[in-house]
């Protein structure tokens, strides 16, 4: 498989500049908040936006090079770009949409994406999931060297999304071209991609496998983006290189990481245990507070207890006999309490190395 390489690509945006180096082999998800410049990256790769400088190449083919002035038009780049709203041609049928990418190829792709029965339909009559399949079929009918997906799941309702996510995962895994996808949802990114790259304000924050991002978030933004609870407090150094941190509400918790001064701690909801009575194990961090909210997620529930959110099974919630408003103890280990850099203040805060 060829590798798509973005080398110091710089695109000026309204309030900041997008500046990115990235190598894409396999499936890479670019995640970040709205307005971080994610879509601009796809547009630059596709040739719809001209970077100020940098280079974009795939294998030994150069698509853009600010220095030598190479700038291939989109039609000469062999990209398959699936737009966020799919951008299907409304005046053409499903079949004509696919044939627009490549003549005489419709049969194969109608078949492969299970949309043969829709071939005569107009895009306006399709459901979100169907539109996405047509858009994917059309993009791949182009026989692209790289597939670009812009927020592939955001236009779908929650019910459709779960199924489509699985289908999309299988499809991407079977492709032998690099895939670069953009999403604002870490869970979607983790489900679809081998590598997740977090960009904020046009800059790359961290790149890694989804589990690397969760276990070693580079800063508090990445931590909260991957779903962690963030606790702000002031650290007092303790023995063994670990630290005790006094939180804003006065609770004192331990962390296995070294820390000093004002710090941010990250604790994942699934690392938190909930109890109805004070647990005996004094080594555990304990937060005692009433349950502020209960949100069901399939067979799991998320409980907001004081400053943290805990995720436990529906079964254990029933066993504990707890409900909205009842006093609960949220407990978590010092080893599951990580010190992370504040993302607005990356340099001054020390980060634990594993």
């Amino acid at each position: 498989m060829a590798t798509l390489v973005l080398d110091r690509v710089f695109v000026p945006l309204r309030s900041f500049g997008l500046e990115l180096s990235l190598a894409v082999a396999g499936t890479v998800a670019l995640v970040g908040p709205s307005g971080a410049g994610k879509t601009t990256v796809l547009r630059a790769v596709a040739g719809l936006v001209r970077p100020d400088s940098g280079a974009i190449s795939i294998g030994d083919e150069v698509w853009f090079d600010g220095e030598s002035g190479v700038d291939r038009p989109p039609e000469a780049r062999r990209v398959g770009l699936v737009f966020q709203d799919y951008a299907l041609f409304p005046h053409m049928t499903v079949r004509q949409n696919i044939e627009y990418a490549r003549r005489h190829a419709a049969e194969e792709y109608l078949e492969r994406f299970g949309i043969a029965h829709l071939e005569a339909a107009r895009p306006s009559s399709l459901s979100g999931g169907e539109k996405q399949r047509v858009a994917l079929a059309r993009a791949l009918a182009r026989d692209p060297d790289v597939l670009l997906l812009d927020e592939p799941l955001s236009a779908l309702d929650a019910h459709t999304k779960a199924g489509v996510r699985g289908e999309l995962h299988d499809l991407l895994a079977a492709l032998d071209i690099p895939v670069l996808l953009v999403t604002h949802d870490f869970e979607d990114a983790a489900a679809l991609a081998d590598t997740v790259s977090v960009i904020v304000d046009g800059k790359l924050r961290q790149s890694g496998t989804p589990s690397e991002l969760v276990s070693q978030p580079a800063d508090s933004f990445v931590a909260s983006f991957t779903g962690a609870n963030l606790l702000h407090g002031r650290a007092e150094a303790a023995r063994n290189g670990a630290a005790r941190v006094r939180l804003e509400d006065g609770t004192v918790v331990s962390t296995a990481d070294p820390a000093d001064g004002d710090v941010v701690l990250a604790v994942y909801p699934w690392d938190i245990t909930v109890a109805s009575a004070l647990p005996h194990d004094s080594a555990l961090n304990v937060i005692r507070a009433p349950i502020r909210s209960v949100a069901e997620l399939g067979n799991r529930v998320r409980l907001a207890i004081g400053p943290v959110t805990a995720e436990i099974t529906t079964e254990s919630l029933a066993r504990l006999g707890l409900g909205l408003g009842s006093d609960a103890y949220a407990t978590f280990k010092a080893t599951g309490t990580r010190v992370v850099a504040r993302h607005d203040d990356v340099v001054s805060v020390r980060r634990a190395t594993p």
């Binding site: 039609e75 770009l81 041609f89 409304p90 005046h91 182009r142």
Partner: protein
């Protein structure tokens, strides 16, 4: 009580407005009979006017579409220094009184005009020729097409053109296969408006092209010329013009309905694309 008064006000206003708009057209047809109208079709003045009007209109509209479409597309899809000025310039003839437009055309292309001597050197004399009618009609009617075309192009989703490019189509193929079909409804509407305006052109034409039978005398000019000589001919020509306008409006409606059923592209057109 109040609501009833309001309803009466509405109904009265609508009745008066519609009656006012319809009455002159009804009057033209009640003043003449279909027999007399057909009779006038053998009157050489009427026949000449019909030929001159159709010929000059068709050529003028072809020119407007050929030059106006790319102009409108450029103004709709690109932003450049002087863009707002260019758009204003395109609309200028709309607000110019037709007689002033005629004088302006004479001052520009007349024998003593700005370009007159250069045109003469090329052996071209424009004023008081059939070509002058075409120029006058194109000058006065083109803004109606170009304005509508700009709106139609601006209404097409730019991501569709972008999608076309990433699917391997160059700018030309993208324009003809994606942008043009989606903007078609708006372009047809603009053309119909421009055509209607061109057929009714009077002021600029009489100033710049004169009113010579079989050469520059269009329907509108002939109606004026025959007014105190042959009122029947005047009425017949007016009736014919009304018929042409109705056919044009009907064709436009049918064209748009067909367009809507074959695509989801929205085209907002001076109220014609309502909820029919």
């Amino acid at each position: 009580m109040r609501r009833a008064a309001l309803a009466v006000t509405y109904v009265t206003a609508v009745a008066v407005a519609l009656g006012f708009l319809l009455l002159p057209i009804v009057a033209i047809f009640t003043h003449t009979s279909p027999g007399k109208l057909l009779e006038q079709l053998s009157n050489p003045v009427v026949v000449d006017a019909l030929v001159v009007t159709l010929k000059t209109s068709v050529i003028a509209q072809l020119l407007i579409v050929a030059l106006g479409t790319p102009t409108a597309y450029l103004l709709a899809s690109r932003r450049f220094p002087g863009h707002a000025f260019a758009v204003t310039l395109v609309e200028l003839p709309l607000v110019l009184p037709p007689a002033v437009a005629g004088i302006g055309l004479l001052a520009a292309f007349g024998r003593l005009g700005l370009l007159g001597s250069s045109l003469e050197a090329l052996g071209i004399t424009l004023p008081f020729t059939q070509a002058a009618v075409i120029v006058a009609v194109a000058y006065v009617a083109s803004p109606l097409y170009i304005r509508q075309a700009i709106a139609a192009f601006e209404a097409t989703d730019p991501s569709l053109a972008a999608a076309s490019r990433t699917l391997g189509a160059g700018p030309a193929r993208t324009f003809f296969r994606v942008v043009l079909p989606l903007a078609r409804g708006g372009l047809i509407a603009g053309l119909a408006l421009s055509f209607a305006r061109g057929i009714g052109e009077f002021g600029a034409t009489i100033m710049f092209a004169g009113s010579l039978q079989a050469v520059t005398q269009t329907f509108s000019l002939a109606i004026y010329a025959e007014f105190d000589r042959n009122f029947d001919a005047t009425l017949a020509m007016s009736g014919l013009l009304v018929l042409i306008s109705i056919v044009l409006l009907a064709a436009l409606r049918i064209g748009l309905t067909w367009q809507r059923s074959s695509s989801t592209a929205s085209s907002s057109l001076f109220g014609l694309s309502g909820s029919s």
